[in-house]
């Protein structure tokens, strides 16, 4: 069967909106378009109903109660609200925050901002498999620590952190625990109670919902978490996040969560099968390819591979009918290759050769086979062009060469 090109396999960046989600959203653009804060007419009530149903659906997916869900514009805002909100509210109690080096920029840059404001931040290193060492975490906690913020699963390498263990340590020490759950929620089971999570950032567009809709779970009891708002206005969302609610987005977000919850067991097994098929096809045909990060503690739909001696951007150019992304510096505005891969101890030479595959709900086995074939063919072609591959084959030890680093 011929596949339709181009193929989208970059589902960690964003996902298409599920048609069932679109269908649920449509009436809210035209018929049920009211402002959820309008308390005195039918239009407002209907919108509010939609919003509250969404709240239940999102809450249910992560084992929370609806009242604990605060709507935001997306996970970047949720991360900002959680970290800055706790920092400001509990400043009297302490000024120390613990995070890890492979967090998303929404967390890292927020922490950097707080450092300028007098907070101290510990950036935990990760081990070779991409996971933090729990002993490092225990040692980092001081009497001044008010927040631990660790992502559930990494956006580049899909590595899943020992969240439940971190949660128990945080609880035992009486420190709030914020989790950036963007890549994990809807893909693998996440339960705020089993995992002892106090704050959880979620994004709709990563789980087949619309862009511009996000949520922050804020624990209400045992312990109750209070947040200082970063957006002031009409006191919406229990005063934590003012602003007219994105009703259509929220309705879609809710529906998307409901579908994820229903289909997760079947879907995650299917995606894992496709991911393993892709990996197997590549590894059986190419030498010197390396998986970045743990294969054991990993999202089922993620694969991040370094293709030694083939620079990432030239690779993307060669497979230009496939949408994937690269950890190479050349693809981004900065000239540094992926800080996540560097944190894992992947050499900069290999970091420049990494490609991230994010398989999604709408990918088929035919597409996976096509992608594997294109990748193998392109790597072979570019290796023929690569002076490094030639030197490796000649047995030159490139680590001993005096390179002219520019």
């Amino acid at each position: 069967m011929a596949v339709k090109l181009p193929i989208y396999m970059d589902n960690h960046a964003t996902t298409p909106v599920d048609p069932r989600v679109v269908e649920t959203m449509l009436p809210y653009f035209t018929d049920t378009f009211g402002n959820a804060a309008s308390r005195n007419h039918e239009f407002g009530w209907k919108a509010e109903e939609g919003v509250e149903r969404g709240r239940e659906q999102v809450a249910k997916l992560v084992g929370a109660t609806p009242k604990e869900i605060i709507w935001t514009s997306g996970a970047t805002e949720s991360d900002n609200l959680a970290i800055k909100g706790v920092a400001e509210m509990y400043r009297e109690k302490g000024n120390h925050i613990i995070t890890e080096v492979t967090e998303h920029k929404a967390v890292l840059d927020t922490c950097k901002r707080l450092e300028k404001d007098g907070f101290e931040v510990t950036y935990l290193p990760v081990q070779k498999d991409g996971r933090i060492d729990l002993d490092d975490l225990r040692k980092a906690i001081t009497a001044k620590t008010i927040l631990i913020t660790i992502m559930y699963a990494n956006n580049e390498i899909g590595v899943v952190q020992p969240i439940a263990e971190i949660g128990s340590i945080a609880k035992e020490k009486g420190v709030f625990f914020h989790v950036d759950g963007v890549q994990a929620v809807g893909k693998i089971p996440v339960d705020v109670n089993k995992d002892n999570i106090d704050l959880l950032s979620i994004s709709a567009h990563k789980l087949y919902g619309p862009k511009g809709a996000g949520a922050l779970y804020v624990r209400r009891r045992n312990p109750r978490v209070q947040l200082a708002a970063i957006i002031d206005g009409g006191g919406h969302e229990r005063g934590m996040r003012s602003g007219t609610l994105n009703v259509t987005g929220i309705v879609g977000f809710g529906k998307a969560c409901e579908i994820c919850q229903e289909e997760m067991p079947v879907e995650s097994a299917r995606l894992r099968g496709l991911r393993d098929r892709l990996k197997e096809a590549i590894f059986s045909q190419l030498d010197e390819v390396y998986v970045n990060g743990s294969m054991t503690y990993r999202l089922p739909h993620n694969l991040n591979i370094s293709f030694a001696y083939v620079e990432g951007e030239s690779m993307l150019m060669g497979i230009n009918d496939i949408a994937v992304s690269s950890g190479s510096a050349c693809t981004s505005a900065t000239l540094e290759p992926s800080y996540v891969l560097k944190a894992l101890g992947v050499g900069e030479d290999l970091a420049h050769t990494s490609i991230r595959f994010g398989i999604g709900r709408f990918n088929t086995q035919e597409e996976v086979d096509y992608v594997a074939a294109r990748v193998v063919e392109t790597v072979r072609r570019l290796r023929e062009l690569s002076p490094l591959y030639e030197m490796a084959k000649e047995g030159v030890d490139m680590s001993k060469m005096q390179w002219n680093v520019h």
């Binding site: 951007e313 050349c330 030479d349 420049h352 060469m401």
Partner: protein, 142 residues
């Protein structure tokens, strides 16, 4: 990121890919860049000792599409030129020809460096009893 048609053409149909015998005294080899920077170019030229004309040029490049295109173009340009003419090629000529955006200018610089490094290597090999001079911008071959 959109590439110019010329970059795409060189990427899809690179000219003069391959290697020459680096131990041949008439062959100059330039190896510039570094794997950790994401680009390494190897440019080789076979130079006629009598006429100083570059008779053959080959390249291999690890790098982005613009780096591949810059080195591919460099081999096309140096072929048939004398050593002095080849040394006159400027990175800005490559930028213009390939319509490289500002973030890719370093690729053209690397190509110019590779030309110069290959020629210095050839000169070093052919300078009778001159002291072995390290080519300025080439990586040492160990």
């Amino acid at each position: 990121m959109a590439y110019s048609d010329k970059v795409v053409d060189h990427y899809n149909h690179p000219r003069n890919v391959g290697s020459l015998d680096k131990n041949d005294p008439s062959v100059g080899t330039g190896l510039v860049g570094a794997p950790e920077c994401g680009d390494v170019m190897k440019l080789q030229m076979k130079i006629n000792p009598e006429t100083q004309v570059i008779e053959e040029a080959k390249f291999k490049t690890f790098g982005c599409g613009s780096a591949i295109a810059s080195s591919s173009l460099a081999t096309e340009w140096v072929k048939g030129k004398t050593v002095d003419e080849a040394l006159a090629i400027k990175n800005t000529d490559i930028v213009r020809e390939l319509a490289l955006p500002p973030v890719k200018i370093h690729c053209s610089v690397l190509a110019e460096d590779a030309i110069k490094a290959a020629i210095s290597d050839w000169k070093r090999k052919n300078a009778a009893d001159a002291p072995a001079e390290k080519p300025a911008s080439s990586a040492a071959q160990s």
